[in-house]
Amino acid sequence: MSASTTGTRQIAMVLDLNKCIGCQTCAVACKSLWCKDEGTDYQWWCTVNTMPGRGTPKDYEEMGGGYKDSIPVRGIAPSREDFGGGWKFNHSEVFFDGNPEHKPLRVAGEQPQWGPNWDEDQGAGEYPNSYFYYMPRLCNFCTHAACVDACPRGAMAKRSSDGIVVRDEDRCRGYQFCAEACPYKKIYFNYELKISQHCIGCIPRLEQGVAPACARQCPGRLVFVGYLDDEDGPIHKLVNEWKVALPLHPEYETLPNVYYIPPLAPAPFNEDGSVNEAGSRIPPEHLESQFGPGVHDAIDTLKTEVEKARSGEASGLMDLLIAYNWQDLFPDFTRDPIDITWD
């Protein structure tokens, strides 16, 4: 592991998938703030996909990158088609230019075959035991950041103050080694500026004590933000004490710092239509393929604590996840942006 990837403090996130409703508010909040300039039209630094599904970019889990036994795994940089999106529509043709044949509103030019949320709500399983859940993804602020290691320009770095992985867009030459190396495929190429771009961790907001846009605007109240080493904070408790928050694809060996509370699901039905109370609708092997072997204990812990709540017992875990006060989700970043005065 190179020195450049070792931070002294690490900001981490926990995303509770049992509260995520796939509404895309995080994605739109991020895009509305950061991806408005040239070349960012198709970029969604934060995406939400339905799982099981192909994800964003399409089939990203098959694109390589990361490490295997500490050796970098060769990866490919996703293409614009793999991401999809950046669509321009024929509004004017439909509404204003004369349209007696009633042409419908469509993407101008070639019709898309993929987009950032193309397989929304399709899921898997056999009716009535079908299932799906929502998975928001952004930069993982990896401790062992493959992108940083892969950059031959030294344009990328992991900050010591908070572990956010940043890019010097001025140094970046758009070689896309970072995009090949990132196993989560959360790095976009700006075809106008000929550089790569990715989530900036809302550094301008963090530096003012304001939570990231995706977290602060999340109406589902599922995004916890804090320092991993803060033993009083929710992140540490969920990741290290309760062990219910797990990294996505730990086998990529980049030690990601975005953690997920794995999804519960409705009890499945037996063949005869009766309810299988003890059964698991989402196959445990699927969950393990996403969150690693720790997921089984995490699910058991969640179920035990939910059961406690049902029987009226106190549960520290449930109280944490409820987050009675919204600001408890990001205790170090509670500043109201309107209290800032710019020079």
Binding site: Y127, V166, P219, G220, S274, V275
Partner: protein, 926 residues
């Protein structure tokens, strides 16, 4: 790249480009909320302005904790709200008054001046009045509008004598079953009250899609010990976070509910005190006629509105109190039969409960399982839980009403809640939607002058009348008086659109088709329709009459061609040719705008003042400030209506148009329209109007005493301190507390206040002749009729995730979060049988019409089901043929009933509403 980039290679703590820091800076911040018909909405946001342009918005996150131990409501918001700024400069935005060039619907326009536009509109209005009369001027009740449009359209249409179609029939958000049972359809608890639930039934709703700002209360309730159960044919988005999903067969929900009722009764789990107090279950019924035993049956001078119970203690029939739900010394028997002496000799009577229990014999769980597809043990298990836990059915907007037999489903659901004591307590209940709490807006319609004097006088007079009425009949309550006043006042604003549709919009053919009705409709539909009119059940509301064909249509902020069940094809074929002028006032091009003669550009949110729709769902009056001027020549709607009124007055004077009358004998003078509209120039400025509404509302005591526009501009929102004086507010029957979540009907449950129904209790027996004839005098399961013809698939629907109605549907940001065009969801095995692959274009068709759409395949769709989420606009479909072209828009004949207790029209309440769920369709590859 800009030269001002922070160099990172040598520092241990690099930053990001200054460009990003600059992106997040702003010059000014304003309060906002999206005050269109996003209900319950009311998300307080901040709008950030830079260089005179709105750059983005973000939730304010400023709500305080209401009740200790209950999560706060922050942050609120959704993706549509987070991307609203895009709409301000969207490509579909209308920026200038436009006049059609070529045929209607050709999509070609010329820009005209406001003066030209208003002159053309004013002349067409005066032409219509001279040719036909004022009721030929029709406003559909577009609902994507804020207060300025509401008061603008309301005052304009009111002073002109035109008719405005009731929104609840237009969008079918009226829950007939709730109304039949409770006398109002809109009791509404606050979103944070959901946290108190122990059983949360997501039943006829999809909160994962359409309660985005509020859903966290469901997931947090689950972590608090609540079991979340999704009852729906499809394993849809709202199944994903449920503990159980119950795959009920489409349209069979009443059987499921009634079976649970049977389990509750058979296993002795019934909450007898609640059932006997709150409902009519203990009232006596004649076993021969299925009618209540009335005092008029017993004595010559007896009242037909006085009912009986059997006192187990004294062993005789006793009068049921009308002024309270409490029985005092009487011990009402729940089960009959008994014999009672009447004018005609002894007759056998029993209780409503006994009749109902007999009916429930058909719903033994094993039997019901065959009807509804839910395992018998699962039925039993859920019934036992509901009987012992605080149970909440959905959070808002129970959509059973969109089914032909939705009333029966709702009555069955309420019966289950009644037997288990599940309303009027925190964490319980069932609801539709509620609004109308901004008394200052109601007062504004009546006020001709600024200041507190007029309002004070109006309030004093209303209170004096209330006191007098209460003294005259001590069994009355404020709630009953308020509701009865609404029912008995002549409809001023809205009229139920059923008469307009049947007479002029091409609905007759569909509604007269007996095959698309329930077989228990014994006579032709037309006979029921005529009987309802002839008996005067809809007197005053049954306009326009046959001699008043429509001539001018003014659509303000709505989209009648997309929204109306029955289809744009039908309206374009039958209604459009009769219209001499079609005017759409909107921020954007909608399907209706595209088929209009004149399109007038309206200001968006952030470009005018607005309030969120006042509701007890969110319990706050939220404010949207004007942050920037509207672009182009767009204007806020009050100003648009004012300009049209001014031009009508001017042209009426020039043309010498005389005062005229409407069919209800009210006189209007077009030569003074602008003077009346503005109260002689008092109401010209939106700031003045808003300030007045706030001050008047404060006089009622529902918002702080010192409320004003200036104060609200600082605070952004007010929590309701009370709900006010409107019938809808009083009907909530609970006084809100500052430190408690809100649940309606507490006065009924805790204080025994009677309900505004015929029998003054929650009423399960509807002994109207039509209902008895149809065997619907008590809840029952009936199969959905074959609306649309004999086809193998059934359509289900619901609001989509990506748009509020069709308002955001062309926002490129939202389009990119799905496939960019509409889709239907079809089960994987069905698709395989049909030879259809994912994203194929299919034709969806029936005897009413057809549309073409892409397919999304999911194993979550119920076999035999087609899920067509609504909100997509017609212009997103090939040939602009949207799903409503295959929806015949049937109404249930029984909903024309009147002359019976609470069965009387008042705005947004009792009236027939077209349905669309379970419409039969075929599918084939296009």
């Amino acid at each position: 790249m800009a030269a001002d980039v922070t160099k990172t290679e040598t520092t241990s703590n690099p930053g990001v480009s200054k460009r990003y820091h600059d992106m997040w800076k702003w010059d000014e911040v304003y309060w906002a909320s999206h005050c269109i018909d996003c209900y319950p909405g009311n998300c307080p946001l901040r709008v950030y302005v830079k260089d005179g342009q709105v750059v983005r918005e973000e939730p304010a996150g400023a709500f305080k904790t209401v009740q200790e131990g209950v999560p706060d409501m922050n942050p609120m918001g959704c993706q549509k709200g987070a991307g609203w700024t895009r709409l301000l400069s969207a490509d579909e935005r209308v920026l200038h008054p436009l006049r059609r060039v070529g045929e209607r619907g050709d999509g070609k326009w010329e820009e005209i001046s406001w003066d030209e536009a208003t002159t053309e509109v004013a002349d067409s209005i005066l032409d219509a009045i001279e040719e036909v009369g004022p009721e030929s001027i029709v406003a559909p009740s577009g609902c994507n509008i804020g207060p300025l449009a509401l008061v603008g359209r309301g005052k304009f249409m009111g002073n002109l004598g035109g008719i405005t179609l009731d929104l609840n029939a237009e969008m079918n958000d009226f829950s007939a079953g709730l109304y039949m049972t409770w006398g109002t359809f809109d009791p509404v608890s606050s979103i944070d009250d959901w946290f108190h639930s122990e059983i949360f039934l997501i039943w006829f709703g999809n909160p994962v899609y359409n309660r985005i700002p509020h859903y966290h209360f469901i997931s947090e309730a689950r972590y608090h010990g609540c079991e979340v159960i999704n009852i729906a044919p499809d394993v849809g988005p709202s199944a994903s976070h449920a503990d159980y999903h119950m795959p009920v067969r489409p349209g069979s929900d009443a059987a499921f509910a009634l079976s649970m009722c049977k389990v509750v009764i058979d296993e002795g789990l019934i909450d007898e005190k609640f059932a006997t107090e709150q409902t009519d279950l203990a009232l006596l019924v004649n076993t021969k006629t299925n009618k209540y035993l009335r005092e008029s049956d017993v004595t010559e001078e007896g009242s037909s509105r006085q009912f009986y119970a059997w006192d187990a203690r004294s062993g005789q029939a006793v009068l049921a109190p009308r002024g309270t739900l409490f029985w005092g010394d009487v011990e009402p028997a729940l089960e009959g039969p008994f014999t009672v002496d009447t004018k005609d000799g002894p007759v056998e009577v029993t209780t409503v409960f006994s009749l109902m229990r007999e009916r429930l014999e058909d719903y033994e769980p094993e039997k019901a399982a065959e009807i509804c597809g839910i395992d018998a043990d699962a039925i039993r298990s859920l019934a036992r839980k509901i009987a012992t836990k605080r149970t909440n059915i959905l959070g808002s907007l129970n959509n059973a009403s969109k089914h032909y037999h939705g009333d029966l489903i709702e009555r069955s659901q309420i019966l289950l809640l009644a037997l288990t004591g599940n309303w009027g307590k925190h964490g319980t209940g069932m609801r539709s939607w509620g609004s109308g709490f901004l008394d200052g807006m109601l007062a504004f319609f009546l006020k001709s002058k600024r200041g507190p004097e007029l309002t004070g006088n109006m309030l004093d007079m209303a209170e004096a009348m209330m006191q007098m009425t209460l003294q005259n009949d001590p069994t009355l309550t404020r709630k009953i008086v308020s509701v009865e006043q609404s029912r008995n006042s002549e409809p001023m604003g809205f009229v139920p659109p059923v008469f307009f549709w049947y007479r002029f919009a091409g609905y007759k053919e569909a509604w007269d088709n007996a095959d698309w009705h329930d077989p228990s409709m014994k006579r032709p539909f037309e006979e029921y329709f005529n009987e309802a009119v002839e008996k005067g059940w809809w007197r005053g509301a049954d306009v326009p009459h046959e001699d008043s064909p429509p001539r001018v249509l003014i659509e303000c902020g709505g989209n009648v061609l997309r929204r109306t069940r029955g289809g744009s094809k039908r309206l374009l074929e039958h209604l459009w040719p009769q219209l001499k002028k079609i005017v759409t006032i909107d921020v954007r091009m909608s399907a209706t705008a595209l088929h209009s003669d004149i399109v007038l550009p309206a200001a968006q949110q952030y470009e005018k003042l607005g309030f969120g729709i006042p509701s007890s769902h969110v319990m706050n009056l939220t404010f949207c400030d004007k942050a920037v001027d509207p672009p182009g020549e767009a204007l806020q709607e009050w100003e648009i209506f004012r300009r049209i009124a001014e031009k009508v007055e001017e042209r009426a004077k020039e043309r010498g148009v005389e005062p005229y009358k409407d069919s209800r004998n009210r006189t209007y003078d077009p030569k003074t329209l602008h003077e009346t509209f503005t109260s002689s120039g008092e109401w010209l400025d939106q700031e003045v109007i808003f300030d007045e509404m706030l001050r008047d509302t404060a006089m009622v005591g529902t918002i702080p005493e010192n409320a004003s526009l200036e104060d609200l501009r600082e605070k952004g929102f007010y929590r309701w301190q009370g709900l006010g004086l409107s019938a809808r507010a009083v009907a909530q029957a609970t006084d809100p507390q500052p430190d408690e979540t809100f649940v309606p009907f507490r006065k009924h449950v805790e204080e025994g206040e009677p309900y505004p129904t015929l029998c003054r209790r929650s009423q399960f027996l509807i002994d109207h002749d039509w209902f008895i004839e149809a065997d619907e005098h008590l809840p029952i399961h009936k199969e959905p009729p074959g609306i649309g013809g004999d086809y193998p698939f059934q359509v289900s629907s619901g609001h989509n995730r990506w748009s509020i109605h069709s308002l955001n549907t062309a926002n490129d940001l939202m389009l990119e979060t799905h496939r960019g065009e509409p889709h239907v969801v079809v089960n994987d095995h069905d698709a395989e049988k049909l030879g259809i692959e994912d994203h194929d274009l299919v034709r969806v068709f029936n005897d009413a019409g057809e549309f073409k759409v892409r397919v999304k395949i999911s194993s979550g769709a119920c076999p035999g089901q087609v899920v067509m989420y609504n909100g997509f606009d017609n212009y997103q479909f090939p040939d602009w043929a949207g799903p409503n072209d295959a929806e015949p828009g049937m109404i249930k004949w029984l909903h024309l009933a009147g002359g019976y207790g609470h069965f009387k029209y008042w705005a947004t309440e009792w009236q027939p509403c077209p349905v669309m769920r379970n419409t039969r369709v075929g599918i084939e590859k296009a």
